[in-house]
Symmetry: D2
Subunit: 358 residues, 4 copies
């Protein structure tokens, strides 16, 4: 008798939705993509060609998909604005949930994101995970295991950056009004990594940030910047600092350093697309990934497989949903500091305090 | 209606056979592994756990598997000694064939390997391909495309090496009696790459080789060496030179340089397992793949997918079977030169000549 | 007739004093080391062996050395506490001055360092330079020229770090009481580089910093930290951020990235002592410089030669003394922010302001 | 009393002669350049500006310079054709000799070069050294020390290449008639390195070589090639193989790998001019040295200093002159094999043998 496969539905078939759908259809042996939904006709048209012939039932309406016979898990890959709502509905319908990051993008986080957590807590038999793909990247996993093994002593300083290739179409200006800002959209990954390496119980003591608009002044309309640096201090004597940019010439430059008391690990500080070097009259050149999916394609596939395994084998998911909320919270504080120019302080309980109270 | 999948059987379930079987079972969306065969009970036991539950029918006898209802293609991953025979049987049974390298290992090449070619030529509707996995590696493919685009001018000198990590168990001594020797077992990949980059019509003018037993003198019993360097001259004014070793300390070191009249491409001259660097008191370290499968796993998967696509879509296979025979022929000549110490010359028709005749 | 050589005296023969003396004695063809002074008997003993036999006159008293017949220039390489005083005396005695960094280390900067500047301004025929050796490093010079040529557009974000190898003797704890703190002692170089790449007229808008004592809690006694990150915002829409550490496992890790609107330059983000790679069972390793002199030896030699050329040929010195004061000022502000935890704001005239006034 | 300096004369003021003269004038503290000679008026004109003002006496005639009062050592940096003759004259005049490579370029080696050795042997109090600059390069020295310490076990396979940047003026075609051929002109350095790492007593068993004219067919007129690969087998079970080229696009690519039974060392397999990386839309680029002097400038300076120290302190010179003759001998054998296409065999006494006799 063939082993059971996890029956998955995919909500949203935009850029990442299409990828998630295909990952579950073709590259997750223990899962079966049984359904997909999108309110968008263009997206459904694509799905008729690429999903339907393989037995995937298509829905225009998310709620209808949730009722699909035998559906066990949902990937929420729709517009960020509905992430929280769709995740909660799925939980209520008793489905496991893999939700694209971020859970939400703004100050309503305490309501929106928290309700996802609340919903999840009520149904502990469900696997609810936020899609921080980097945690599934082979290099980050290797660095994490080495850190856990004690190779670098106590991780104490964490430097990480998410830097996109410059998109001269200015796409990211329009995008800025929905993205939550550069710290919530880009640095959220670095923040999540910091929490992973420092431990989920690391408590923020202060955040401060500065930013500029070096190439796209119009971002200021949406309270955003194209380059920003943020500094996060933790109560247990650790520091994380982040750089985010929309201005890289060469490509996607996401790199991280974990500096411990006995050593250091770096991830992707020498980016490369592959193992080719090009020798030409101007020197020696290597090409690098152009976009985050070039860099993290396999991390997304691994994520799909590990989420599937957690659901089928009733194992703990590698990321707790509470951590995702915490990451958004830090990202929003950095974004606020970026805009106001003020340093923000927190006590160990996570409440804001004035400096004079510390 | 679900699109058709290629129905594949896997012959041989040894180390590589297991991998091929799983690649077709789990990582080749357009293929369906329907059958597998092995004369070995241990291997069949493994298959009962890992293949049978997923609908794969197991056979102890290869000939029986060939009669499996609906079988369309066979992966020949059995012992090298039966590669040629099984490939021919499959062709005669009207199956597409993906045959692990090498087609054969010795001087009977002209009979054994050539009969595979002859069999294939009689059935041009069949796809018959020899598994030179490196041709499917992303970095080699990138280098090839760049070369084809003219980036480095005319490829003129080709340096390539296949160097295994030292296996202190001495496994490779016992293995040497079947392997055909270091040039046939290891350098065959480099030779195939040279033919790829120089063009399949490149004609060998001379070969010469030297070798030593630096760590395993017992290899001499089997007319083999643990380190060998070979030099191949082509009639059209090009040179390829190869290094093969069983003695690498750090891991698998397979690297290649393609030197053209206007530039150079290198592949894997700075090996790395992933994007992590380790900073420790002794310096900065990176880990590298330990074995060929660490390095080429994805190339094998891509090979399975491209072979499948060629069969289903009736496209030409990326490697002609004649090239595989040519590669073995060059490997055997290098091995002969290694043992006799003599330089061997060929005319443009491929016949051996004495130097004085040139 | 032999060309004139610059007659140089060296004040201070401690670790760096010895090096400066030897650079001028042996590696600066257009200079002649004619005198050296130190109040320390051990240092003078060393000088009797290494300097005196080559015609260098030794003095126990700095003021006496200043009167040395024909002396034209002085290298101030004594204890930091007397840098400013000795520099002023030399200027008053009408000597060119090359003064080791920093001019001073603390809040008296406005008095002490400024008086050096004032003294220098009164004697414009003298060359007065502060020894920021990195400006003479071949890689930094190359990066600077490339930046000036427009290769990376407008430099907008500057990341730089000065990170020492962990010294397990705890030497730097005792040293901390004189050093001025980690931002003044280490980051001063990075700050100077930022001013070089951004232009000396870049005006600081805000600074904020955080730090920890990950390995040496006793540093807190001297208001210092062993790891610190600082953030400097400029009024013209640029950002510089700095990391300083006493905790590196592998060696000296001083690296810099200059991120422009059209490209990026990195300096030493892949440190290496030389061109050797070591392949061993644990992977591939390269060794890196252990101390700043390992890394910057040639920069110091170049500095000596360029200072000499400026004096002899009456050319402008490559670094204005005012810049050195500015760098100390920024370093002190970062150090203050590190200790108070407060972000500090400045108006365009360089005056401190409260945030609410901006 | 000032320590004694070695009084040096420089014979020949061509491209390398000028450099040697300046190295001894400015960058060799324990030496004093007292004289220089050249038959060429242009070269003497240059010397009037750059050497004479610093007390260097100029001679049009080499023999006259040898009589310069107090002269102790001679650098022979003249045309290769007179290397041997001038070296012998200097030895006869009782001077230490540093002679540019090669001692001679052709089959007369047994007479010409050997007479230098004979002359040197008669005067064991003189230091006579052939200028194989790579032995003084910091990276090669580091690799050598690591090898001597046992880090890589027994060095068994040696790969080394000397590859020049393509000079589109075709200069090297005219040069080929004097150079002795690509193996004598370029690979001589790699051969010397092989003898260094394998031990000067390594005995050649066979050589074979192939070459092509990929960019400059006219080289065939002078029995030369623009790309050549040579294979040298030693009687003690070791292999060295060499690649030489005049066709590199990116710059000078001189790299070496020393493969031992327990590890490997590579030198310059990732060339770089400095520590700068350039990030631009086409990827990440580093520049590399353009010519051998870019790469080995400091090795030449170190050579001058170490030769001087050997003379003054009566220490053994780091390279025996006999080794230089051996290197030329191997280079000539490779060049012969390149042209005739034949493999050449030697017995342990160094005599040529026919294969059938081995």
């Amino acid at each position: 008798m063939a082993p059971t496969k996890l029956r998955v539905g995919c909500a949203g078939l935009g850029r990442m939705g299409k990828r998630h759908a295909l990952h579950f259809l073709e590259r997750t042996p223990r899962a079966e993509l049984v359904a997909a939904s999108s309110p968008d006709d263009e997206e459904l048209k694509w799905a008729k060609v690429h999903l339907e012939p393989f037995g995937v039932k298509l829905y225009k309406n998310y709620d209808d998909m949730l009722k699909h016979e035998g559906l066990e898990a949902v990937v929420v890959a729709s517009a960020t604005a509905v992430h929280a709502e769709q995740a909660i509905k799925a939980i209520e319908a008793d489905k496991h949930v893999l939700c694209e990051k971020p859970l939400s993008t703004n100050v309503e986080i305490l309501s929106k994101s928290q309700t996802v957590v609340d919903a999840a807590l009520k149904k502990p038999h469900l696997k609810v995970m936020c899609g921080f793909s980097r945690r599934f990247d082979a290099s980050y996993c290797d660095a994490y295991q080495k850190t856990q093994s004690g190779l670098i002593g106590r991780p104490s300083v964490f430097r990480s950056q998410t830097c996109d290739k410059l998109d001269p179409t200015g796409f990211f200006v329009a995008y800025a009004q929905f993205s939550g800002g550069i710290f919530v959209d880009c640095s959220i990954h670095d923040i999540d990594l910091a929490l992973w390496f420092f431990g989920d119980d690391a408590k923020v003591k202060s955040v401060s940030a500065v930013g500029i608009t070096a190439v796209e002044p119009d971002l200021r309309k949406h309270n955003d910047r194209d380059n920003a640096v943020g500094l996060v201090e933790f109560h247990d004597g650790r520091i994380a600092y982040f750089y985010a940019s929309r201005m890289m010439a060469a490509g996607q430059e996401d790199s991280t350093e974990i500096i411990g008391t006995k050593g250091k690990l770096s991830v992707n500080t020498q980016p490369a697309s592959n193992l080719v070097n090009i020798y030409e009259p101007t020197g020696i050149r290597r090409e690098i990934p152009q976009h985050y999916y070039d860099r993290f394609e396999w991390a997304f596939v691994t994520e799909a497989n590990e989420f599937t395994a957690a659901c089928l084998d009733n194992k703990e998911v590698p990321l707790k949903i509470e951590g995702a909320v915490k990451a958004v919270r830090i990202g929003c504080a950095l974004q606020e500091s970026l805009i106001t120019g003020k340093k923000i302080f927190f006590d160990e309980a996570g409440n804001r305090v004035e400096k004079s109270n510390l």
